[in-house]
């Protein structure tokens, strides 16, 4: 929903928009919340001019397609308002939110509630994801048609896998009628057991029960096979294991409609971090778990060679009291919205793994395409959802300063290069990063 604003022109900055085939210095004119024009040396007329600082890069608004907003039901961890503000501060103009709320988003009324709350908040756009099964219990399929009509963009029982092969088959077939993907939390429950960390040398020595990499890949292989026979679209969420990467690659090479996403923590950290300091930091406990170096490198390789389609954060807020428990008892998950851009710029772009253009695909164009939602490119006439990056700005992560309601991040004190400078949703500059020099220019005075 675009708010009328004064016309203004983002002048002279570098624009990276791979879907439009654009990477160069362009002016972008924004009027009434929409992109009015894009080109070289646009006429300024009466528009306000924002000189884009040298080194800044404007991209299509970033979209995080795997976020837990926790509302309704777990507002002590996060609300739709705090979560979407965290998204905006992190550079995201849109988020897709997972249905494992309380109640589960398995009916149009819950979907409508989420969208209503998101509109009231007025921060990042919210694209609800509906449950595959009622209550995500794995028994009865949800009314996907109704949910789709209410605004759901995909279906998942995230938090756990779709319970049976039969249900997954039916879901792929049924969702196929609407051409929306099934997003799968790949995990074989019997192999995962009551594991709390990656099954490997580190967990063995720390005495933590293991979750093997194959617990993930076996479920991915099941789902890819089912997508192959049904023609449905399967999306592998938060991929962590090298075996899963191989399964997805195999599927893609056979022409299966399979896509996958990786979270920043899985390409920046390994289970070795569990030994740091006093050890057993529960902000390193997530599901799927931090795996070993070979897995991390497999994620990096997938990002490099194009096998990975999307980066998403699996933003999973938990209250500090819930995390201040024995490792066995603490809940899985970390927040990710506000650390994603610096981690990606530092560890992927500056590290030479991928280009900035490829990063924009991973964080914007590809999730928009997968979910068939607006954005993912800067198009004349479309809502002006833009992210301005300051790829060289130094960032020191301070978890206490995160705007998310929860601070459960393992990246405290990390020093990284690359920040979000400003986030523009529907033409409105919702956020200008006070820690980035010259970002204040984006705010109308």
């Amino acid at each position: 929903m675009a708010h009328a604003t004064d016309a203004y022109v983002l002048k002279g900055g570098r624009v990276v928009d791979p879907r439009a085939g654009r990477d160069g210095h362009f002016d972008i004119r924004i009027e009434n919340g929409l992109v009015a024009a894009i080109g070289k040396d646009l006429p300024l007329d009466d528009a306000r001019v924002v000189e884009v600082p040298a080194g800044f890069v404007s991209t299509p608004g970033l979209i995080d397609m795997h976020v837990h907003l926790r509302e309704p039901g777990q507002e002590h961890k996060e609300t739709i308002a705090t979560g979407t503000w965290s998204a905006v501060v992190g550079g995201f103009t849109g988020v897709a939110c997972m249905p494992n709320t309380d109640p589960v988003n398995d009916s149009a009324s819950v979907t409508q509630f989420i969208l209503k709350r998101a509109a009231e908040a007025g921060f990042a756009r919210v694209y609800p994801i509906g449950a595959v099964s009622l209550g995500s219990m794995g028994d009865q399929m949800t009314e996907m048609g109704d949910l789709r009509a209410a605004g759901c963009v995909a279906f998942t029982d995230d938090g756990k896998p779709v319970a049976t092969a039969l249900l997954m088959r039916r879901a792929l077939e049924y969702a196929g009628m609407f051409d929306v993907p099934i997003i799968e939390h790949c995990e074989d429950p019997s192999l995962k057991g009551d594991g709390v960390a990656h099954e490997g040398a580190v967990a063995a020595m720390l005495g933590l029960r293991g979750i093997p990499g194959v617990a993930e890949s076996i479920m991915a292989e099941r789902d890819i096979s089912l997508a192959e026979v049904t023609g449905g679209r399967i999306h592998v969420a938060h991929m962590s294991a090298r075996q899963t990467m191989r399964a997805v690659r195999d599927g893609k090479s056979r022409g299966v409609r399979v896509t996958c996403e990786v979270a920043p923590h899985h390409f920046t950290l390994t289970d070795e971090a569990l030994k740091d300091g006093a050890g057993y930091n529960t902000n390193l406990k997530m599901n799927p778990p931090l795996r070993e170096e070979a897995d991390r490198l497999a994620m990096i390789e997938g990002l490099r060679d194009g096998s990975v389609d999307i980066i998403s954060t699996d933003h999973a807020p938990h209250h500090a009291d819930e995390k201040a428990l024995e490792f066995d008892r603490a809940p899985f998950g970390i927040v990710g919205l506000e650390t994603c851009v610096p981690l990606c710029l530092d560890r992927l772009v500056h590290a030479g793994v991928i280009s900035l253009s490829r990063l924009v695909e991973l964080l914007s164009s590809n999730p928009a395409s997968l979910l068939k939602i607006p954005g993912g490119t800067i198009a004349v006439g479309a809502p002006a959802d833009l992210t301005v990056l300051a790829p060289d700005a130094p960032v020191t992560v301070r978890t206490a300063a995160l705007v998310s309601k929860s601070k459960n991040s393992p990246f405290d004190a990390w020093q990284l290069r690359g920040a979000t400078a400003a986030t523009i949703v529907g033409g409105r500059v919702l956020y200008a990063n006070p820690a980035v020099a010259d970002a204040a220019r984006f705010v109308a005075t």
């Binding site: 967990a203 020595m205 720390l206 933590l208 201040a324 024995e326 490792f327």
Partner: protein, 312 residues
């Protein structure tokens, strides 16, 4: 290497954090502590006025009694808190329990807990020194130290000893602490157990891993049997007690291939007829009762060495 004169940490969270010279220091101190147990008045005033809390979230008669005796022999004031049931009983969190205890200004907290890493969590909250008395499937450092003291007494050294450790390797904190200690001190460790109960990454620690007890025991100076818990004895880890004993039970016949003066150890409590034949447990090889006596001495040494530093 110069000999340690103090422990570098004010906690004993695990063997992993100890250097070899610190292990030597604890063992040497334990030798001196052992003499106190031979006196008529088995008590010294070293920790007079110090408060030690024994925080046991898991039933453990022998470890708790051993720590209590060690504390009393050092004249510490002790409080025992035994939380019935398992770690997953709802209610007060460990962090809140720790803060409550902290308000009573204990000098040392001895903790036994079913969740790995619980002592580490406590050490981030409490000012008191933390002693790990067994955490989940992670470590049981005082057990490994008393085992080492027993081996050193009987064999005169640790370096170069061939030590076979047999049993449930996956769930055993005794295994982890012993492997860490023995490899640090230059012993040769063979770990043996059913393939379903061998953790990944054990080999990386420089341990020879085998599923053949005969291979493990051959020429061994020390055979350490680990307790196999009954709850593991059915379901998906092992088919039956009967088969376990036939494949992995320590019998006099199997011991014949060990070194001639082999000693047999067990952290207790034993399952006779499951992991160990009674003829072995009660036989001339057994040093199981030495282990119990050494447990008190080692725990006195640890408490004494950790209590030495004034808290700031």
């Amino acid at each position: 290497m110069t000999a340690a004169t103090k422990l570098r940490s004010r906690h004993l969270l695990g063997i992993a954090e100890l250097d070899p010279d610190e292990i030597e220091l604890i063992l040497d101190t334990a030798v001196a502590m052992k003499e106190i147990g031979t006196r008529t008045i088995k008590k010294v005033p070293a920790l007079r006025g110090r408060t030690v809390v024994n925080l046991f979230f898991e039933a453990s008669t022998r470890t708790r009694l051993s720590f209590e005796l060690a504390e009393k022999r050092l004249s510490a004031d002790t409080m025992g808190i035994t939380v019935a049931g398992s770690s997953v009983t709802k209610g007060e969190t460990l962090a809140d329990t720790a803060r409550t205890l902290e308000a009573m200004s204990p000098d040392l907290i001895v903790i036994r807990h079913a969740a790995s890493g619980s002592p580490h969590l406590l050490s981030t909250i409490c000012k008191a020194g933390i002693v790990n008395a067994g955490d989940g499937t992670h470590e049981h450092p005082t057990q490994a130290l008393l085992d080492a003291l027993t081996m050193r007494e009987r064999k005169g050294r640790l370096a170069g000893l061939k030590v076979a450790i047999v049993g449930d390797l996956l769930h055993s904190r005794v295994l982890r602490s012993n492997v860490l200690l023995l490899t640090k001190m230059g012993a040769e460790v063979r770990a043996c157990g059913p393939a379903t109960l061998i953790p990944l990454g054990l080999k990386a620690l420089g341990v020879h891993v085998t599923t053949s007890i005969d291979e493990a025991v051959k020429d061994a100076d020390v055979v350490m049997m680990l307790r196999v818990q009954h709850e593991r004895m059915h379901g998906l880890f092992l088919p039956s007690l009967r088969e376990y004993f036939s494949l992995f039970g320590l019998t006099p016949a199997r011991l014949e291939h060990a070194a001639s003066n082999v000693i047999v150890m067990h952290p207790g409590p034993m399952n006779r007829g499951v992991e160990i034949d009674s003829a072995v447990a009660d036989g001339p090889w057994s040093v199981i009762l030495d282990q119990v006596a050494n447990g008190v001495a080692v725990r006195m040494a640890v408490l004494y060495l950790l209590a030495g530093e004034e808290l700031t």
